[in-house]
Symmetry: C2
Subunit: 522 residues, 2 copies
């Protein structure tokens, strides 16, 4: 999931992380100690005789278990669902989606390419933790196309509502910005060459359009004979400024520059869940699936977990020296637990920061976005509720594919979609998609949707500490140290929230904490 998109994007808009960091520094919260950039090294057998209850078999739970079991810890993994992965969830033909008030079945045809990453869907090249496990466990990776300049940006209030190619907006924006910059540039001309190159300016430092903006149609592309290519008229910068003010579209304009979204992006071949199944195999497969945690007890210095085996209907009690609790905060807040009051309060406040996020997927054949619109992978954006439309990065020029017809991470829109029935979401996503691709409704097939706010055992998309003023500085740190035997891990316990990498880094941090306690005899 693309937390970075919203979070980091907003920070950039509000005044850059640089400024945020300076503010934090002024608050006395820096300098930052450097902890666990990579996996902690636990001596073999260092965990012998120690037990850990791992709550949740998502990335954080699986990675914690892998490291702990390798060091000789006895781990019990309790997972409420009947599958590993949590919000790493790949849907294929025949799969079932259960939300709190609806059940869907994926009814597109069975095909290795026809999968839908309903949750996590991409990996950054600097997500060294998760990439390391992919390498170690033999999960094949391929490029994920995050940036496609042929994809579209659409906004009802500009350009008569007509979608514009991203290349055109980008080129004309750069041209106009460079032209403005040239007026304030040093008179010695030392920046003139750079600005000309930056914005494709003329010798006299003006922008008159550029091939960078692309050509309107194949009939005006540079080709053979006398067809040299016909440039488009530059879009006025004022129009682009209005795009920038429209809901999420500021992100569309600079998305590719951000730390977590910049190329190279990657994906596992065959679906994101390849990672969790590889981890599940690596830990020996021992996960108690269908075990829903009902109580988290403090038993002296140890912990007790009361869970319910959903299929058998029985209650299971687990005792352990330590707990790695990876349960998302919106779920955890409602579980009876012997947490300290400060921790319980932090869990409740943290739960309130979670975004919603809804995705709608469509099967489609042929791949008309390639055939008709020459869009190969990447993302189109709209100011309408669907936020984004993703085109598949794999199966290029094959006969069919899965479109993510809505990836709604803007909270209000995601919640508007969440209350709709699956059929209602389909209709709404088609109505919005029509603005990007006329005739869309007739060009998409079977659909399915996932509203993360309504998925049991998730009840939200990811933590957004940086959206609630002060949350990162006052709430998050409360959950960092152990509360007696209880350690908290997951994407929410990181500075890379909404990404598998955050879950991995958090698992590393937490396992390191436990190892230190064991070493110190605490």
């Amino acid at each position: 999931m693309a937390a970075d998109l919203s979070r980091r994007g907003l920070l950039d808009v509000l005044g850059s992380v640089g400024a945020a960091t300076l503010t934090l520094k002024a608050m006395g919260l820096l300098p930052v100690p450097i902890v666990f950039a990579t996996a902690p090294v636990l001596p073999a057998d260092s965990g012998r005789g120690k037990s850990v209850a791992v709550l949740g078999a998502g990335i954080a739970g699986l990675v914690s278990t892998l490291l702990l079991r390798r060091a000789g810890y006895q781990c019990t993994v309790l997972e409420a669902r009947t599958r590993p992965g949590g919000r790493v969830w790949t849907l294929r033909s025949g799969d079932t989606i259960e939300e709190m008030d609806s059940t869907q079945k994926v009814d597109w045809e069975s095909d290795p390419d026809l999968y839908f990453n309903a949750g996590a869907a991409r990996l950054s090249h600097h997500h060294l933790g998760i990439l390391g496990y992919c390498r170690e466990l033999g999960v094949a990776l391929e490029p994920f196309i995050n940036d496609n300049r042929a994809a579209l940006i659409q906004i009802d209030s500009e350009f008569s509502g007509e979608p514009q190619r991203i290349a055109r907006l980008q080129a004309d924006m750069r041209g106009a910005v460079a032209e403005l910059a040239a007026r304030s540039a040093p008179i010695d001309g030392s920046l003139d060459g750079l600005l000309r190159n930056f914005g494709a300016l003329t010798k006299d430092m003006t922008y008159l359009g550029s091939s960078r903006a692309g050509f309107a149609s194949p009939k005006t592309f540079p080709a053979a004979g006398t067809q040299r290519g016909k440039l488009q008229r530059p879009i006025p910068i004022g129009d682009i400024a209005r795009v920038n003010e429209a809901r999420i579209l500021a992100n569309a304009l600079t998305f590719l520059e951000s730390w977590n979204q910049a190329p190279t992006m990657l994906q596992p071949v065959g679906g994101m869940d390849r990672i969790v199944y590889a981890l599940e195999k690596a830990i020996g497969g021992e996960v108690a699936y269908g075990h829903e945690v009902e109580q988290i007890l403090r038993l002296g210095e140890r912990a007790g977990i009361v869970s319910r085996d959903r299929r058998a209907g029985t209650i299971v009690r687990t005792e352990a020296d330590y707990v790695v609790c990876t349960i998302p905060l919106p779920v955890l807040k409602s579980i009876r637990a012997d947490f300290s009051p400060a921790v319980q309060h932090a869990i409740e406040q943290g739960a309130a920061t979670y975004g919603a996020a809804t995705k709608v997927a469509f099967a489609a054949a042929p791949r008309w976005w390639e055939l008709d619109d020459r869009i190969y992978g990447g993302i189109s954006w709209t100011s309408r509720d669907i936020n984004q439309l993703w085109y598949p990065s794999h199966g290029i020029q094959s006969s069919k594919g899965i479109l993510v017809g809505a990836y709604i991470w803007e909270d209000e829109a995601a919640r508007r979609y969440a209350v709709l029935s699956p059929a209602g979401r389909r209709a709404a996503a088609i109505a919005d998609g029509e603005r990007l691709h006329p005739g869309y409704g007739a060009k998409v097939g079977a659909s399915t949707s996932v509203a993360w706010s309504k998925v049991p055992y998730s009840l939200g998309a990811w933590a957004e500490w940086d959206f609630t003023p002060g949350a990162r500085e006052t709430i998050y740190p409360v959950l960092l140290p152990p509360d007696g035997p209880f350690h908290f891990a997951g994407e929410h316990m990181s500075y890379v929230t909404g990404w598998q990498e955050g879950a991995v880094q958090s698992a590393h941090y937490t396992v390191g904490q436990i190892a230190e306690r064991v070493k110190a005899g605490r």
Copy 2:
């Protein structure tokens, strides 16, 4: 090959294509008639009884033959080499590279991933001609990573010669440019939001650094616990301006914005020659390989071709109603031919515009650029002679790969490399590569190189009409109409020189010309 890189890049630097077009307009050369955006539609049997000699089985020759044979033309394809593809050439274990004064054998291990696209190596998403043939002929495509923000830019004279991550230069350049632009922005503040977003500026419109610039090392990446990430200090814009002035590095800074290099880029799975072998199969495989054209004769209104069967040592005479001559101009200029004086002169002048281009490839295991440098695909740049270092887009996180250790399209540097022996090129490429990756020499294995200026039947990389003032306006048009029975096709006969797409578009144009003649009885 990346003609666009140099050509379009230079145009941008010189004052944008926009300005160039305006200039051309002033010269009375516009407006442009629209010709053959897609393949001409030839009625079945429309070519019955007509014969065509196709000289060269590269992309232009193969595509021309495909269309002509489908319409019933009798085509004789003469190809001097023993393989199809011309400058589309994929090298694998055991292959032989013959230049005018050297012979190399590719001696890395045999493996489907270990191929080296010595010539054409990428496809743009808007190269609709070549993509159409890939679709029609079932050539599987995958993303080609052209933009990797973790890749490097190195310049001896700046940053103590230390390579810098592209993300950092890009972010700091944007920040500084936006900050400059803000000083000239309208006082009504209408552009403030856009400029803040564009450059990651603070509220008061200054750039203090940003997460967009990336973090120096995994120890300072945002992670878990209290590791929030430590920003880097912005690089002064003056330093970046000096990078912009250094040889080819201006291209490095804006490469991704250009028409032919902007994402999405694609490559055939398994090597670029998948396309030419699919075309060869589609035309029925009938190509006279090893037939070197020695004379091109005018026989009344028809044509005669005298070729030498290199293996048999015999002379072969071919008569045809028309000729599609795709022989590169540096080769064609030395062939005895009954061209008109104006055409012969244009061929000689066009030949002089060809660039050199040299590539050096290294096998390497493990993929240390991923393991040690977290570089997944993409291109690093240096002001040194190797120009670029390409990391493979396929086989991500597998055990080995082929690095293009030098892609030298800067003409002077390419010619300096061309005169070196293969061993000399290897040593020179390692010396330059050391600046990007210390210890490089010990980390690369078997190598091979191709200097296109010394490859028989090519004698150059591609036509560069736009580098020679007036060449596009005065020389290129001379070769557009047929010279009696002789039609000229190939990348050089297009506005997409250096790309397979140019060859395809030119083939479409030429086949269309022939079909019109036949229809009109000329």
